[in-house]
Amino acid sequence: MVKTIELIGRIFLDVIREIGGVATLLVETCYFAFVAPFRGEFPDRKNFGKQLVEEGIKSIPIVALLSFTVGLILAMQTAYNLRKLGAESYMPPLVAIATVRELGPLIASIIISGRVGAAIAAELGTMVVAEEIDALRCMALHPTRFLIVPKVGALLIMLPCLAMLADAASIFGAYAFGASALQMSAAKFRQFAFEYMVARDLWSGLLKAAVFSLLISGIACYKGITVTGGAEGVGRATTQTVVHSIFAIILVDGIFTAIFYFIFP
């Protein structure tokens, strides 16, 4: 009994410590991104460009492919239910709105936490183990300014873009099903899919993607930079990054969706 309470307490403390660590890191990142440049300390621009490509451009194929598939699946499941009501023609707006508000950003974020989050944690963790972070500090280069700001900034720009791409690919997937199985014309699908959509559906989804990007890069950078214990520690940090960031994404997504549903309907 005492052991159980002890264990719960320890897990609770670990969670608090991690949230605190990630938050501190993100605040520090904001400082080096927005305040330090006015004091003559600029983030590394070359590295930023490289991160845009690594985190964003190279994720395009997988995000597009998986979102297309999810759109296809969603269209089939929706049509299956609507057929009972004889309302299969309502499939496009249902899928389009669910995708734009929810699934596009969520799918993109989950793929990115596996693809980019894990890569960030492994890269930073290896740098800690190989004394590269120590070497940076000793050259009077703050690791946050030099390594973390480009990563966090690039993902903040790229994840909403990828979410938009996921939206488009997913809706295209739904169209592919609609056109082949339900004999919908492109014009009819387009008109019907976007008839009920409002601008807020789109930007609430993109806002969520931006917040998810901070969760992913914040957790990944924190886990990477706090690695201890050699190669094993790097492996642990990488796994934890993926698990924790997917957990955080879904939790925060729930909170956001509730806010948009109840407070700003």
Binding site: M127, A130, E131, E132, D134, A135, R137, C138, A140, L141
Partner: protein, 283 residues
């Protein structure tokens, strides 16, 4: 033998002074009153067995660990009083060669050496490239600029690390185990480089090592650490003639002596007998 180091800011010619350094990890004291002076242009070797606190001493002096007690002055500035910004100003005046070289694996050899110059000087990119060549020439590695660290050997990595450490023409260079994991020839080359930097450019060095041959070859002063304390401090001759049995055992590399590595036969038999009794009682 243990020359007292006064607890006051050092005069101009002493580039680094440590006075009574104390460091604890989770309540375990790894440094317990370490003191020494490093004069400008001198090579100080910090030696000792594994876990004696020599690496911790180095990490404190380069600002990677915080002190729990004692005072240290680097270029006349007390390091525990220095803000991050002030310490960064000090960091531009010293270089560090890490044990593995600590090169950035995502950059080429040339980019590694160029990085401190690009970040901390307003030099033109062409001038930087010339300086990179000069620094690589000093460590005997011209023509390797375009290779990645993963494509060169351990000894070469360490030499590139040294080229990067001296990129900004520092007054002081710290070396963490410069000859660890290197063959005797490369190790001797690194020793030569340390002496070259001292003789030709007047660079002061602080070297952490447990290689006795190279320690006696390069040192002007030596500190012998044992269990977080300074056991001996002086010139190589003074250390060699030290009457401390622990120091003698260490510099001769003898397996038996006052340094407790193996438990004695009697103690071992006693604990074994006690362990056996316990087992038998339980059954």
């Amino acid at each position: 033998m243990n020359a007292p180091v006064p607890n006051e800011p050092p005069p101009e010619d002493i580039i680094l002074r440590a006075h009574g350094l104390v460091k604890e990890f989770d309540g375990r004291r790894v440094l317990d009153g370490v003191s020494f002076d490093v004069k400008r242009g001198e090579v100080l070797v910090i030696m000792g067995g594994s876990g004696c606190g020599k690496s911790t001493t180095l990490r404190i002096l380069i600002g990677l660990e915080k002190l729990n007690g004692g005072r240290a002055w680097l270029f006349g500035k007390e390091i525990s009083q220095a803000s991050e910004k002030e310490f960064n100003a000090l960091r531009r005046r010293f270089g560090v060669l890490f044990q593995s070289g600590a090169l950035f694996n995502s950059m080429t050899v040339g980019e590694n050496v160029a990085l401190p110059l690009q970040q901390h000087s307003d030099l033109d990119e062409n001038i930087i490239q010339i300086m990179v060549r000069m620094k690589l020439e000093m460590v005997g590695l011209t023509g390797f600029e375009h290779l990645k660290p993963s494509e060169i050997s351990g000894g070469m990595k360490k030499r590139v690390g040294l080229a990067r450490a001296i990129a900004l023409d520092p007054e002081l260079v710290f070396y963490d185990e410069p000859s660890a994991g290197l063959d005797p020839v490369v190790s001797a080359v690194i020793d030569e480089l340390i002496l070259d930097l001292k003789n030709k450019m007047g660079i002061t060095s602080v070297v952490v090592t447990h290689h006795m041959d190279s320690a006696f070859k390069i040192a002007d002063k030596m500190v012998y650490l044992y269990q977080g304390r300074v056991l001996a401090y002086g010139t190589p001759d003074e250390i060699r003639n030290s009457d401390d049995p622990i120091v003698q055992q260490f510099i001769r590399g003898e397996p038996d002596g006052p340094i407790p590595l193996k438990t004695s036969r009697d103690v071992y038999l006693q604990t074994l007998a006690g362990f056996a009794d316990e087992r038998i009682d339980k059954t």
